[in-house]
Amino acid sequence: MKASLRKVLTRFSGVISVLVLSVMTASRVMAQCAMCSGAAEASSGQFAYSKSTLFMLSIPYLLLGGVAGYIVHAFRKARVSFPDGEPGPDPGER
């Protein structure tokens, strides 16, 4: 498990680094071109746009992570409870 995780991390280390750098320099990333960057820097609402964009960007990933985590948890729990394929109780009743 640990070896496979290390393998995945090594393989995607470039993508992960870009993502981390993107978050760290979010205001620059949000201004996709020189014109946008200049407009954002001139605007008094730059802070507002940055925070709002970060907020709205983060929620889908949080939701996706939460739902995926719940699904993985439910499947693992089902496998641990009934490892040999025995029919379990109705999941709605658990």
Partner: protein, 202 residues
């Protein structure tokens, strides 16, 4: 399907397997994810407009009373606890406890709607209206109004559950609809918590 064709029997021990997550729960999760995105968009718009101006609330506009928001949060939490208690009672087959839980949920939900209506009328009297409140008023009424519509919808749903419970139609093995309503109540409570923080406390 051709009636002459017979399907092979399922492997031993796997004829009655159920999915680890029931379909209704998965469907409700997907629906709530979509609802969350709706509120995220509204809150994102609020954050842009809120932090684009140096002074908030704008001059001459009333401050939102944090006490009212807290009371509303407590009422929604009571509604969530009520329906959760009802679900637990129904699973045990205790119909009296279920009726009590559903009644508590409905009373708290109605209390929330009435308290919000009262707050709206008081704020309107202080000058925070849709037409005269500018961006501040529009944002406040859009966010709280959208949330109140959701509460109203799940409240009506819970009334139907109470009627079913009184007729003895909510049986321990068929409680998907109660669980879904409970998930919706938890969602509106959580959504109000976020609204409370960004509208009343920030």
């Amino acid at each position: 399907m051709d009636p002459g064709v017979t399907l092979p029997p399922p492997p031993p021990g796997q004829g009655n397997l159920r999915p680890p997550i029931p379909n209704y729960r998965l469907a409700m999760l997907i629906f709530l994810v979509a609802e969350t995105m709706l509120f995220t968009g509204l809150m994102g718009g609020y954050l842009v407009l809120r932090y684009s101006v140096p002074m908030w609330p704008p001059e001459g506009q009333p401050l939102l009373p944090p006490g009212a928001g807290t009371v509303n949060l407590a009422l929604l939490a009571a509604a969530s606890l009520g329906i959760q208690g009802a679900l637990r009672s129904l699973r045990r087959g205790a119909s009296r406890g279920a009726l009590r839980g559903l009644a508590l949920c409905l009373a708290a939900g109605l209390g929330f709607l009435l308290a919000l209506g009262l707050e709206w009328s008081l704020l309107r009297a202080e000058g925070l209206s849709l037409d005269g409140g500018g961006t501040y008023g529009a944002l406040f009424y859009a966010l709280t109004g959208c949330h109140a519509l959701h509460v109203l919808a799940v409240w009506i749903w819970t009334v139907s559950l109470l009627v079913l419970a009184m007729r003895g139609r909510l049986l321990p093995g068929r409680l998907g609809t109660v669980e879904m309503a409970g998930m919706f109540w938890h969602f509106v409570t959580l959504a109000w918590l976020f609204l409370f923080v960004i509208l009343y406390l920030s």
